[in-house]
């Protein structure tokens, strides 16, 4: 193997995160100063918390002052910005002046106040990836330069739905959008008709969210976690992968709305839900809760669901949040998925209710359910050989006539 020339080795070293580039400089004096041209300035959690804030701050400042290269491709920072905001701002400004493409700033370590990001630090032409945690953004009414953004991930950021909509309007190349714990959003409209690239949308734990409207013809993947809002799906024709995990509401669950959501998602090929979603699909659970169901719920009998998941290939269930979900609920759902190939169940230390209803009615009904001819793979995590877990496994063995793998 022939030796690589120095200029090539230098090029390789500048692609290393700066800390490792310094270490690489140890390799030979030829590369001693290579780290000064490093294009990846990453200062993660371990770096800033291990050394103490003063040391970390002076080290990062040293890197930025000494940086001699023309380009900084990515700047990733995890730090408590309290009392050092001007310095942090300076580092961000330097990164921007050197054409930074990826900016990842995590200020969750800040004790009380959110870091303030001024508009000039956001409306940046070179930015492709923006990941922010625990800050406040001073948003301009329109963004003139930030239009090449392809990934936006905001966690614990004070941002309103208007700001999100402005962002989406301006960033037509957006591919991934993730909003977690953004409590200032009350109603969100994802209007992405012109966004051919928008493929992934994740929404989690936004405690004040009451309405989510999605019109995104190119969307492939939608994940939701939190208290169930009202969902309005306009065009989600390309949606292949959906994950719906509801947190138990303070009041009671609107079962018809859960059914409507599942109905809207009937074309996906991968579906992940937690048990509260599954048990909301069936009436008998409503009776058990002692709440009289409304007319909508009475229309559907316990036999089958009104829709069928004909494209569903992979089904994942996390036992979380539900109370009554049992083997019957799982079986009844799968009965509507004639072509399912893989099933994953995470028992999550929940045990099934061994109700009389199950013994007297549901168990027999399982016999009449269809065979799952395409089912090849089943995995049950957290299996403890309990009675009801065995009944679940029995169901799979009975109905999965072409089953190849059963992992417990």
């Amino acid at each position: 193997m022939s030796d690589l020339p120095d200029d090539v080795l230098e090029r390789i070293f500048t692609l290393l995160p700066v800390k490792q580039a310094v270490r690489a400089g140890v390799v030979s004096t030829r590369f001693k100063r290579v780290w000064l041209f490093s294009r990846k300035l990453h200062f993660g959690r371990w770096f800033t918390t291990q050394k103490g804030i003063l040391e970390a701050m002076s080290a990062i400042d040293h890197v930025f002052r000494a940086h001699a290269g023309p380009q900084i491709q990515s700047f990733k920072l995890y730090i408590d910005p309290t009392d050092i905001e001007p310095m942090v701002r300076k580092w961000i400004e330097i990164s921007i002046s050197k054409g930074v493409e990826e900016l990842e700033l995590n200020f969750v370590a800040a004790r009380i106040e959110r870091f303030q990001l001024s508009r000039d630090l956001i409306d940046v032409e070179s930015l492709r990836v923006l990941k922010l945690t625990f800050c406040e953004i001073d948003f301009p009414p329109d963004l003139t330069r930030l239009h090449l953004l392809d990934t936006l991930i905001l966690k614990k950021v004070e941002i309103t739905s208007d700001m999100i909509e402005t962002l989406i309007l301006n960033c037509t190349l957006l591919e991934t959008l993730e909003l977690v714990h953004c409590d200032a959003i009350h109603q969100l409209t994802l209007s992405a008709r012109n966004h051919k690239r928008l493929k992934v949308f994740k929404l989690g734990d936004c405690s004040d969210l009451s309405l989510v409207e999605i019109d995104a013809p190119g969307l492939r993947s939608f994940h939701f976690y939190g208290q169930a809002p009202l969902f309005l799906f306009e065009d989600i024709s390309q949606l292949k992968d959906a994950a719906i995990n509801f947190v138990p509401p303070k009041g009671f669950m609107r079962h018809s709305s859960v059914r409507n959501i599942l109905d809207d998602l009937a074309n996906v090929s991968v579906l992940t839900v937690n048990s509260i979603v599954l048990e909301s699909l069936h009436n008998h659970n409503v009776w058990i809760q002692g709440i009289s169901p409304n007319y909508e719920d009475l229309k559907h009998n316990t036999r089958g669901l009104p829709f069928s998941y004909r494209n569903l290939k992979e089904f994942q269930l996390i036992m979380h949040g539900g109370v009554y979900c049992n083997t019957y609920d799982i079986a009844a759902f799968l009965n509507s998925c004639p072509f399912v190939e893989q099933v994953f169940i995470d028992l999550n230390e929940c045990s099934f209710e061994g109700s009389i209803y199950w013994e007297l009615h549901q168990k027999q009904e399982l016999e009449s359910f269809r065979f799952l001819c395409r089912l090849k793979f089943v995995k049950v995590k957290g299996f403890r050989f309990h009675q009801h877990e065995l009944e679940l496994v029995k169901f799979f063995l009975q109905k999965g006539i072409n089953l190849e793998t059963l992992a417990l």
Binding site: R11, L15, V18, R23, V26, A59
Partner: protein, 158 residues
């Protein structure tokens, strides 16, 4: 150099360049694809590309792959995502081969291939100790220098 009766560029015969590897194999590449290499671009501009261009530093099997890369990247209508996926597959090879790509891309000055292959190597050495890095690149160590670098940049070492 189009034939008189052609009406669209598609019916034009494509201008081909011939490259000759160190072990005597010849490869044809479209001029458009060859333009990705600054070295070849210069030769084309100076009209030295009408006869087979000898590349004594590059073996046949490596040159074949370089031609494949340049041809793919010169294609029109390929979306960024599938090109990225194609690139990932292209460099999903043994380390020695990646080094060969780097040397070829460096010699032929193909920035896209050079960056791609260098990124692979950077990822490869990311967690390695200086000694391991020296071994991979065959660099002679010198302990006094190592101490000096450590001292100057303590923050980067635990």
């Amino acid at each position: 150099m189009s034939s008189p009766s052609s009406s669209s560029s598609l019916s034009c015969p494509k201008k081909m360049i011939t490259l000759k590897s160190s072990d005597g194999e010849t490869f044809e590449i479209e001029e458009i694809a060859a333009l990705q290499s600054k070295t070849l671009e210069n030769m084309i501009d100076e009209n030295c590309a009408d006869t087979p261009i000898p590349l004594p530093n590059i073996e046949g099997k490596v040159l074949a792959k370089v031609v494949e890369f340049c041809t793919k990247h010169a294609e029109v209508g390929v979306d960024a995502e599938s090109l990225r996926a194609w690139d990932d597959e292209f460099v999903n090879v043994e380390h020695n081969t990646v080094f060969d790509y780097i040397l070829a891309a460096n010699f032929l000055e193909i920035p896209t291939l050079l960056d791609l292959a260098c990124r692979v190597v950077a990822d490869m050495i990311k967690g390695k100790t200086p000694d391991e890095i020296r071994k991979i690149f065959n660099i002679k160590p010198s302990p006094e220098e190592e101490e000096e670098v450590r001292r100057e940049n303590q923050w980067a070492f635990e």
